[in-house]
């Protein structure tokens, strides 16, 4: 009777005697984007379960995960935020561009940090204007620049006169990289062509006929939901060379490529976490979480791109808690202490190894001026035969010289519009 035990667990958890660390998980296991949301939410939940089961929590205090279903819907996200913030939430992972934009002002006013990991508002990388918002380990503008760098490497260092098409979801999310790509196209001399696809993106024939006529040298892809599967299928249909088709990190997970079968072979995407289960930590997850019957999902998604990303998000939160506990000398931290912990977060390769995740992600070093961390990612390629993502590059850095002024400008605009004086507290 799993439901009964869950019900009792909920009642026990609701009683206020137990001190714990609260992590709301604004997941979306339903709706048009569920295929990406389910493994992420599972990874996020499983890591905290592991910490509780194996280590007895973080620094001796149990972690408590409150899951709240948003269905990727902004209003439900607000409802979830209001419902969970009173429970002593330490950090929000809003998991949707729309909800992130909603929560940035609210959470800043309430004093709760937001970690929009690799999504949300790019200029939140400027911690002087957005003290409560973090988007490490990288932003969309980093991703765009890394894609350009990868193309540069492939072309032997010059993109002069090359044609690059940006195929994007016609929404806040998809429009994010345009500014950076425009700046980079001036710098490197490539032609940028913008191809928007309206949500949901089931019918993309026009766009792909245009691709077929224009024959761009590269396609950069900012898709989400059903748009990913259709775009990859259509690219295979017109026999576009898949190794020239590069997606952002939200357009490169197993559910995106599997429906296209062999046609997806060779498709590339950026990513900032390791894939697969070849890390010592997964043995622990298998032992303490999956085999103990505590896994959030059915245990099938372990090692998938989105699962590992959710796991990574949870790990970063847990590490920030450890830093905060050390900084303030208390184990039961609050949201403000959590923020300090996030701002002083530093994870080196040795730390990754001791966590059981050697080489899992780039080294991270957060300061007040830089809330987006290293801005590093690698490019991975789908191998349809073995049904696996294979990394094809090492971690690459983005062109921060070009991006930084753009971030400053956008942050400054936000600061004037909202009357914020940028400073480091």
């Amino acid at each position: 009777m799993k439901l009964l035990t869950m019900a009792t667990a909920a009642i026990v958890a609701a009683s206020p005697v137990m001190a714990d660390l609260v992590f709301p998980s604004l997941s979306y296991r339903t709706g048009p984007f569920a295929s990406g949301g389910i493994p992420f939410a599972d990874g996020y939940a499983d890591y905290f379960t592991l910490l509780n089961e194996r280590d007895g929590g973080i620094g001796g205090v149990e972690a408590r995960l409150i899951e709240c279903e948003t269905g990727y819907n902004t209003e439900k996200g607000v409802e979830c935020y209001e419902a969970t913030k009173g429970e002593g939430a330490l950090v929000y992972q809003p998991l949707s561009t729309g909800i992130t934009y909603q929560l940035i002002p609210r959470a800043s006013a309430d004093g709760i940090p937001i970690h929009s990991m690799g999504y949300g508002r790019t200029s939140a990388a400027d911690g002087t204007t957005f003290p409560w918002v973090f988007n490490y380990p990288g932003t969309y503008w980093d991703a765009a620049s890394i894609m350009v760098n990868h193309a540069l490497d492939e072309e032997g260092g010059s993109l002069d006169g090359k044609k690059i098409t940006l195929l994007f979801h016609n929404s806040a999310y998809g429009k994010e990289p345009i500014r950076t790509l425009e700046a980079l196209s001036k710098k490197h001399g490539f032609d940028l062509n913008l191809l928007p696809v309206d949500s949901p993106g089931q019918e993309q024939k026009s766009q792909w006929l245009q691709v077929r006529r224009d024959k761009p040298d590269y396609i950069f892809f900012w898709g989400w939901g059903v748009m990913n599967q259709v775009a990859i299928q259509e690219a295979a249909n017109i026999r576009y060379p898949m190794e020239k088709f590069i997606g952002v990190w939200w357009s490169g997970a197993e559910p995106d490529v599997i429906p296209a079968g062999d046609g997806a072979d060779g498709y590339k995407s950026t990513n900032f976490t390791g894939t697969g289960t070849d890390f010592p930590l997964f043995a622990d997850i298998q032992e303490y979480v999956v085999d103990a019957g505590l896994a959030a999902g059915d245990g099938q998604s372990l090692g998938q791109v989105q699962y590992n990303r959710g796991l990574f998000a949870a790990m970063l939160a847990a590490e920030a808690v450890k830093v905060a506990q050390e900084l303030h000398g208390v184990t039961e931290i609050d949201a403000a202490m959590m923020r300090d912990g996030m701002e002083a977060l530093s994870i080196t390769e040795a730390d990754y190894s001791s966590l059981g995740l050697p080489g899992f992600a780039p080294e991270i070093n957060i300061t007040c001026e830089n809330h987006s961390g290293p801005g590093m990612a690698f490019v991975q390629q789908w191998d349809a035969a073995s049904q696996q993502w294979k990394p094809v590059t090492d971690y690459m850095t983005s062109d921060r010289e070009t991006i930084q002024p753009l971030i400053k400008a956008d942050a400054a605009a936000f600061a004037t519009e909202n009357g914020i004086t940028p400073s480091c507290s």
């Binding site: 279903e69 902004t74 934009y101 909603q102 016609n170 806040a172 429009k175 994010e176 605009a413």
Partner: protein, 358 residues
């Protein structure tokens, strides 16, 4: 017993034609207003404001707007979401262009702008009727969303196309932006709702309203007895647009604070508001309120029962929520096709005779 009319005599025409001619009704109405204005603001907290009351009040305005068009004038519209977006974006442009002018005036002006846009999209209604018109309003829905997404001027050329409401205050009380107190949000919406409901109620029982209803019941017959169909239909679109625009402006500036057109004002919104008026009751101001309350409360209630009360996994709860809301909607339509307002009317009839029915 509770609902007595004996001894309740009207001695003048104004008395006879007032909104609540029965004394008990009148007192109940004053009591509701008193609770809404004098009790709730003092006990409201962030959760209740943001999850229940503010969306309820704003949707009530939108539902009144749509009810005027669909319930009173018989023109089905599926463009409510986009019309709310018109209100939201006009409000945003006004707020950023004229920061020194009060937000209240901006909201009302946004209503006016929306009224103009909606009237424009109402023009085809002179030729097209019924479901064809409903689907035709979808053209407005998709075109406007695309327009707001595409033209940078509407969102002041921000990097991502999101609009966010700057902080504004009324009489020194902050009403928009993140630092707004729960009660301030609630109060500004409440004031707008009260005024809108008053205007709507008085319009619908006057000559304008009677013209709308004549068109709704049979447009050709109405034309024969001298109702100008163009005037009646277009005024309905205009008035409806005004209310929907106000709802959109408040929705963006007070409730959401930041919005993206495709996500916040998509076709789901259009259907949601249409649901509200059908569940609540077509052609009834009370029905607009009841429907809005029902559609706002139902998901919150179900979620709290399934997840909070029973502790079920959130995805199971979300699926069940779909099943239960779909089932409830169908059940309602079968049991009471004229909506909650009709239930309320029946209850009043019963109460009149209680405890001695014939």
């Amino acid at each position: 017993m509770f609902y007595r009319e004996s001894g309740d005599f009207s001695t003048t025409y104004p008395q006879d034609s007032q909104t609540f001619p029965i004394r008990f009704d009148r007192y109940r109405y004053y009591a509701v207003l008193a609770v809404a204005f004098l009790v709730i603001p003092f006990i409201i907290n962030d959760y209740w404001a943001n999850a229940v009351f503010v969306p309820f009040l704003i949707y009530a305005i939108a539902a009144i707007g749509l009810n005027i068009l669909t319930g009173y004038c018989g023109q089905v519209s599926l463009g409510t979401g986009a019309f709310m977006a018109v209100g939201a974006y006009s409000c945003y442009k006004l707020m950023t262009a004229f920061p020194e002018i009060s937000i209240v005036i901006h909201v009302i002006l946004s209503g006016g702008i929306t009224a103009a846009v909606v009237t424009l999209f109402g023009l085809p209604s002179l030729r097209i009727k019924g479901f064809y018109l409903a689907v035709a309003t979808l053209a407005a829905q998709f075109f406007l969303v695309w327009l707001f997404n595409k033209v940078g001027w509407f969102y002041n050329y921000s990097a991502s196309g999101q609009i966010s409401a700057p902080e504004r205050s009324v009489f020194g009380i902050i009403v928009t932006g993140p630092n707004t107190e729960a009660w301030a949000k609630y109060m500004i919406c409440l004031i707008f709702v009260t005024l809108c409901a008053l205007i709507a109620r008085n319009l619908t029982r006057g000559s304008v309203g009677r013209r709308w209803m004549a068109i709704r019941d049979m447009d050709i017959a109405a034309e024969i007895i001298g109702v100008n169909p163009m005037g009646a239909k277009l005024t309905a679109f205009m008035v409806s647009g005004f209310f929907v625009g106000i709802a959109g402006a408040l929705f963006f500036s007070v409730y959401l604070g930041a919005a993206e057109v495709g996500e916040s004002f998509g076709i789901d919104k259009s259907f949601l508001v249409l649901f509200m008026i059908i569940i609540g009751g077509l052609g009834s101001i009370f029905g607009s309120f009841a429907g809005a309350a029902f559609m706002v409360l139902l998901p919150v209630f179900l979620k709290n029962v399934f997840v909070g009360g029973l502790g079920w996994p959130t995805d199971l709860a979300a699926h069940l929520q779909f099943i239960v809301s779909g089932g409830l909607i169908i059940m309602f339509l079968i049991m009471e096709p004229h909506g909650l307002a009709q239930l309320w009317r029946l209850a009043k009839e019963k109460l009149r005779l209680w405890p001695f029915p014939h």
